[in-house]
Amino acid sequence: MGTPITEGLSMMSYPFRKLLWISAAAHLVIFLLIVYSPAFSSLFPDSKKGQIVVNITFGTGENPSNSAFKKTKNMPYSTLKEQKKAMKDLTKIKKGKDTTTFESQNKKVTKTQPDQKIASTGGINPKVKTKQEQTIDDALKWAQEQSQKEKLQPEAAQVENEGDGQSPYGSLDNQMGEVDAILAAYVGEIKRKISNEWITMPKEVEVGQSLITKVKVKINETGQIIATILDQRSGDLSFDLSALRAVERASPFPTPPENIKEVAVGEGFLIEFNPQSVVTH
């Protein structure tokens, strides 16, 4: 024993020590009450700390952003229907035949060494990619190849800001950090699964408004959905139900990667249905 605190305490008289402990305990209780109260956490409503938000837009929707469209010099060759079909084909999971989904790639890397960015020479070599990074790169490259192969890129004449006509999957030029890339691929897979199961009628809403439904989902370690709750309703019952149905039919989710497993299984997901392609004005 020899810390200043303990030595100081042992030098005090007994009744005083007892009072000190009671006071400390009381302070602690009050402190915990305040900190765990709802009022306290409402002081930090938009705390992004710990919340992982990934926004990948798929498809072109009704009023796509200009960057998704390739500007044609003359009248566009492909019809709107052909473009939408091509986008759907790219994002659809070809059940069993798709060899570059996150899951199948993930299986290939399970029994390898832990991620190493440090080359054997000892220095940090940025050119050496981890296996999982390579997986993501391969998946994105495949998506780009598909899009180019199709030649049915979204195209229109008289586009204001010319895009490069690439599929909005994202390109290899995107600067993504290591964690973000893995997370993006994982979330992208779930997003694809849910979107593919979502059957809904197009909804008419006021300009500037939208229908938003939020579904809370809990999964177990293997990705099976164990609970779903309507966290926020849109006011349109059939829309809410279509969202619930879509989530439930997307079970099981792919196995979460290690670095977010705790959050994914422990805290669960919040699936926000906020469609632009489904609402019309």
Partner: protein, 425 residues
């Protein structure tokens, strides 16, 4: 002591971590909404030819609407013997999201009372239920009305089935004005007028049709009430007067006339009194169409060389909309104001294109299917009807606004120049 400090640290760590993985879904699968329509029944639970005709027509309308996957009767698990008792689990089992039930009751005097219901199978909730009393031979109107109610209940916007499309039908040079519903179930027309009549246009209240007639040799503009009476000659200048278009408030008619020697746009009253001249630039100006608020007119003009779309206010001064293409013509402005559909010649054929009302984003809707011309918007801005020669002779088609589900309207062989009228009542 150490334990107390450890306890303190343990209690304090999880405070700020309330993490979740948030995923945003912005697009659906595009799959169609599965809906089941078991045979409509009479009160006593039986079928007859009328109930079968009505069931078939509603199913056909659901197909034309394009949003629905009308489930095959063979898949149904529940017997359609009882009009009122429903075992929803049998419909959920075949993955029908919507269920329509119909009961038809014949009263004396040749009228029928029909009751339709649309259910959500998951919640067993009645989404919409309606009852109509109609003359037996007007059962089609009841079906169209309920079809529009189904779309209102599921999308928040009324469907366009209770409306008519007018067109010029017949052999080349000998056409008459006809009108029909988009499923072909209603078919009528104006009385025959010698010799050739084209380019019909509905008044906004659906009571009058204006059109171009060659009955006095020169193409002049005439109007007639839908019932067939009240034929009136509106222009009388022995030149070329074509492409009439009613303003959205019904107070004016825009049209193209070569009375001055050059084809220009004019405004006249519904009784034919000339109000003003809209365009003054040398070169052809033709095919006017109104913005839904009646403040602007989009039209085709050769003032910039080839035929392009321009839009301008009624006071004059038009701005150019299209810079791409070389024969852009026959524009029509969507009732919600957002888009203009038109025909353009490209790759050797006429095709339907759509442009945003602000002149951005020209997108193609048809290709490799003959000549496609004369597009016209539905009153709910979700469908486009147009004339196509994809199968040789011309026919009138209807498609969704993104070009999907292009369907031929029955009995429209030899028809051209469709114009989609307003909701009937």
């Amino acid at each position: 002591m150490k334990q107390i400090i450890m306890l303190l640290l343990f209690l304090l760590t999880p405070l700020t971590v309330k993490a979740q993985v948030i995923i945003q879904i912005q697009e659906g699968s595009g799959q169609k909404f599965p809906i089941a329509v078991p045979q409509f029944l009479t009160e006593s639970g039986s079928h007859n030819s009328l109930s079968r005709k009505m069931t078939d027509l509603l199913k056909k309308d659901l197909q034309i609407a394009g949003y629905f996957n009308v489930l095959d009767e063979d898949r149904f698990l529940e017997d359609d013997k009882d009009a009122y008792k429903i075992d929803f689990s049998k419909w959920v089992a075949i993955e029908a999201h919507g269920l329509v039930k119909g009961i038809i009751d014949t009263t004396s005097g040749g009228r029928i009372i029909v009751e339709f219901r649309l259910y959500d199978t998951q919640t067993q909730k009645l989404l919409v239920g309606k009852q109509y009393t109609v003359k037996k031979d007007q059962y089609v109107q009841a079906i169209h009305r309920f079809m529009d109610e189904i779309m209102l209940a599921l999308t928040g916007k009324r469907g366009p089935f209770s409306s008519l499309v007018a067109a010029a039908c017949g052999k080349n040079g000998a056409r008459q004005i006809r009108y029909f519903s988009i499923d072909g179930a209603i078919y009528g027309g104006l009385p025959k007028i010698k010799t050739n009549n084209i380019s019909p246009n509905w008044s906004p209240n659906g009571n009058t049709i204006v059109f171009t007639s060659f009955t006095h040799y020169f193409p002049e503009i005439f109007s007639m009430s839908v019932g067939g009476g009240g034929l009136k000659q509106l222009t009388n200048n022995k030149s070329t007067n074509i492409t009439p278009a009613f303003s959205p408030d019904g107070s004016k008619i825009a049209y193209a006339s070569s009375v001055s020697g050059d084809t220009e746009l004019y405004l006249m009253t519904p009784s034919g009194r000339t109000m003003s001249r809209l365009t003054n630039v040398l070169n052809i100006d033709v095919s006017p169409a109104w913005s839904p608020d009646g403040s602007r007119i989009v039209f085709a003009s050769e003032r910039a060389g080839n035929l392009h779309l321009f839009a301008g206010g009624l006071g004059g001064g038009a701005s150019r909309l299209t810079y791409t293409g070389y024969q852009n013509d026959q524009p029509d402005w969507s009732p919600d104001g957002s888009k203009i559909v038109f025909t353009a010649r490209d790759r050797g054929a006429f095709d339907i294109f759509v442009i945003n009302a602000d002149g951005s984003f020209i997108q193609r809707l048809t290709r490799d299917e003959g000549n496609n011309e004369s597009p016209t918007w539905s009153p709910d801005s979700r469908y486009i009807s147009f004339e196509s020669r994809r199968s040789g002779a011309s026919g009138i088609y209807v498609m969704m606004k993104d070009g999907d589900n292009q369907t031929l309207i029955p009995n429209t062989g030899g028809c051209i120049n469709p114009d989609w009228g307003p909701w009937t009542k």
